[in-house]
Amino acid sequence: MSLDGGMMDPHAFTRILFQDFPSWEVSFFYLVGFAAIGSFIYGVYREVRKYLRGVPDARVIWDYAHIKQGIVAIATHRTLVRRDPYAGMAHRAIFYGFGVLFMGTSIITLEYDITSKLFGIHYWYGDFYLWFKLAMNIAGVSLVGGLIYMMVRRGWIKPPKLDYARPDRAPDAPDYDRSNYRIEDWLFLWILVIIGVSGFVLSGARMIWLADRPEVWDIRWWSPVGAFFAYGLRALGLDAEGAVILRQLIWWSHGALALTLISLIPYTKAKHIFTAIISLVVRDPLPAQRLPKVPEGQEQIGYRFLTDMSWKQLLHLDACTKCGRCHEACPARTTGGPLSPRDVILSLRELANSALQYSAVPEQSKLAMHGTGVGQVSSETLWACRTCMACVEICPVAVEHVPIIVQMRRALVEEGDMDPLLQKTLQTIHKSGNSFGESRRKRGGWAKGLPFPVKDARKEPVDVLWFVGDYASFDPRNQKVSQAFARLMHAAGIDFGILYDGESNAGNDIRRVGEEGLYEHLAESNISAMQSADFNRVVTTDPHSFNTIKNEYPDFGGQFEIEHYTSFVMKLIEEGRLTVKKQLGHRVTFHDPCHLGRFNKGYDAPRKLLEAIGCELVEMKRCKDNSFCCGAGGGRIWVPDPVGTEKPAQNRMREAASIEGLEVYVVSCPKDLTMFEDALKTTGYEGKFVVRELLEMLEEALEINLVEAEVTA
């Protein structure tokens, strides 16, 4: 039904605001309204003041591209539907429902309080009014529907990630109990649901009250849910007189709750409406891939006090909605470690809320982030992190946990608060340039076992410089893989060379440990060695070296074009420089290395290679961006895991073993080969399937050994 050509004046079709209200009630409403807005503004001021107590963040870029990606993420809810599609969709329903209803209220306010009073302009009537009503009804259904799903989820489905039990605290710790959060969660849901439902009841009551007026009753189906409520209330015996009283009651409760919500936004989890949006807009595209450089001339490094954090990080703390995606993804938490990325964020948030929310910044002791007190993060928690980036990658509101953890570790390193074995390894790396404590001279030793010489890139120009890395250079098992890669490049006729003892540990994991000084030393030494060599591009078999050379060396003046061997070899096959001679026909699964997959989005090349050599790939549930860390990252390869608990690599072996008929667990990272070959033995799956490096499978499929034999024969 439309009003065009109707008999009545379209101006009649509207809703009279405050209809039949005595003037004191209207004034009282405005008074309450202004109080709510006042409370909101003060709360926002207090939060902004808190964030500005952090230091400036040079990595925040306010440009079109950043703002656009943030808005797109919010509009599509792309980050929210991941790994929890129903919750994501429910949130989308709530978001758009709430957004449209808020816009609706604003449109009414604009006309009633501004355009009509100042300029005598009215627009909220006639066709516009009817469509408006319909839109509000749809939005209301969307809001209430989404909220009801969320209630069902919290009350009945109870996904484990919504359990706030803390792995980093004993049950008797003063900040173990998270029941306040649970109360807040439910209160928030109930307030919103009551606001939504009471809006419909109000609409229904108004229809019964004014049922004798055609400009109200005849257009009831433009407000279908309101009309449905009207019929329902009538069936329950509500007449026009009762409707007047009901309308008055509901009007005030609906209004009071809506204003309460507005006034509480900056003080409760509702603040995520703002903090999450800003957090998504200012997200760093390389949060864990490129860790922050220490500014020139800054003596103290790392985070000790809350005020060492940047404003953006303080804001991240408030953006967290405790959704638990990081909690679920964290390999340390999954295997019983004392770390949940969520609890790190919540602890620091609690600390910030107790220390930074008042008019004056308290003394430093109240701002200390390290420790076992309320709101503090213990060194055990910090050292449990493997910097695998699973938390950062899945966070729907772009909280960047890893840089905070590494910055806090930097302070621990300065104070020497670390595992003695880690300390020993760092000293070894400083002394010999590698974590094996081997002589620098032996770095290129593995190349001696080849039937052809490997060029020394320091002495003659090469097309491809191969950055070998520690594990591929010194670990006997991985040396075999390095030799395979050398044979493969040789067969493809690639002009390549290595730096021999000019190469040091690339420093990726040292930096993630938090030993920034040693990292700077290693990066500068490698960059100068690479810059004095003559080459066109770099290749590596080590995803860790790959990440730091690609993303972090540029900050130290080293710009190199680098590829991981997976994409490098794929191109050689595509270009026809290498030919697959034998289809292997294995049933395999592929483990995405953190530093190749999640860090650098190298998901496709290894899969294409597996397809090219005729393997049937069966994905594990945790694959690609959700790949499960082998446990070696962040320097943890140098620190033994506690005995008696399952190691991340063992957890992964169990996952792989659940694939029926699995023959090969394929890896493409030297550390993975070490970790998983070990885990295969300790989990007892030896003999059921094997762990193989993709390079060795490639060599078999390309029949390079045979080619070599023919050449030498």
């Binding site: 220490v294 003596e299 490094i301 390193v413 300065e414 104070e415 020497g416 670390m418 003695p420 300390q423 760092l426 000293q427 400083h430 002394k431 010999s432 081997e438 002589s439 620098r440 001279r441 032996k442 030993e515 920034e516 000084g517 040693l518 700077e520 030393h521």
Partner: protein, 265 residues
């Protein structure tokens, strides 16, 4: 209150190394220098005394008798919190034996007048185990070697300690200050010196002195001030082991041949 600590830049060797042309030392190219392991513990012990008694100012001073290549070891000490670093050297000190080194250390100690003098039990390269105690000899101070626990309040006239004896025995004693103590591994857990700490320590000055500055004459130093001098350094010939193959008769035959060869009969 002051603690003086003798420091040595000790040398570890690369796996394959070569003897210097004159046959008296290793070729320098194969040196992997680092702070002597024992000195890490003596410095840590001094730092613990300093930190545990924040109300009494404690000055921790490191001293080494070495050329400037040892500055790195001193920097590590400064990075770990030492207040000052002293290095004594000139060419005349080349070839000093542990006693000549101790003479120089004692001269620095006289100048600095510390309440305690720490040295490592031994150095991780030459392992003479003589320097610390020789310093006590020159100074005539109370001394104790292989100290495994230390109890000292800055300003006290006495130091209580436990020392390790052979055969798993321990001995507890008290010494009057000033005293010379050689510190054993495991007495504490040395702290980590971060690389940034070391770089920052590079800005701290190292006081460099010549033997003359501490009242030493030329014949107190180097080979002329030493009773021992290195004649030759070499890798001892490896002992051989061999598994004899074949049946019993063949094995017996082979064994007889070896015996004949060894006895020259």
């Amino acid at each position: 209150m002051k603690i003086l600590i003798a420091i040595k830049q000790a040398i570890a060797l690369d796996e394959d190394f070569e003897i210097r042309a004159d046959g008296r030392d290793i070729e320098e190219d194969f040196f992997l220098p680092d702070l002597n392991e024992w000195d890490e513990y003596s410095l840590e012990e001094a730092m613990l005394i300093k930190e545990r008694h924040a109300d009494t100012p404690v000055e921790v001073v490191c001293v080494t008798i070495a050329p400037d290549s040892a500055d790195e070891a001193l920097r590590k000490c400064l990075a770990k919190g030492a207040d000052r670093a002293i290095r004594v050297w000139d060419e005349s000190m080349e070839g000093s034996d542990p006693v000549a080194i101790a003479r120089a250390l004692a001269a620095v100690a006289k100048k600095e007048a510390p309440d305690l003098f720490f040295a490592g039990v031994q150095s991780s390269d030459h392992a003479h185990g003589a320097t610390g105690i020789a310093v006590a000899g020159f100074l005539g101070w109370a001394h104790s070697a292989v100290v495994a626990r230390l109890d000292y309040t800055p300003g006290a006239k006495e130091v209580a300690l436990k020392r390790e004896l052979e055969g798993g025995l321990s001995q507890e004693l008290r010494l009057p200050c000033p005293a010379v103590l050689t510190i054993q591994l495991g007495i504490n857990k040395p702290r980590y010196a971060s690389l940034r700490g070391m770089k920052l320590a590079a800005a701290k000055p190292i006081e460099t002195l010549a033997p003359g500055d501490i009242g030493l004459a030329t014949n107190d130093c180097g080979e002329s001030g030493s009773l021992a001098r290195v004649r030759r350094m070499y890798v001892p010939e490896k002992q051989r082991a061999q598994i004899l193959a074949g049946d019993v008769a063949a094995q017996a035959k082979a064994l007889a041949a070896i015996i004949r060869e060894a006895t020259g009969s």
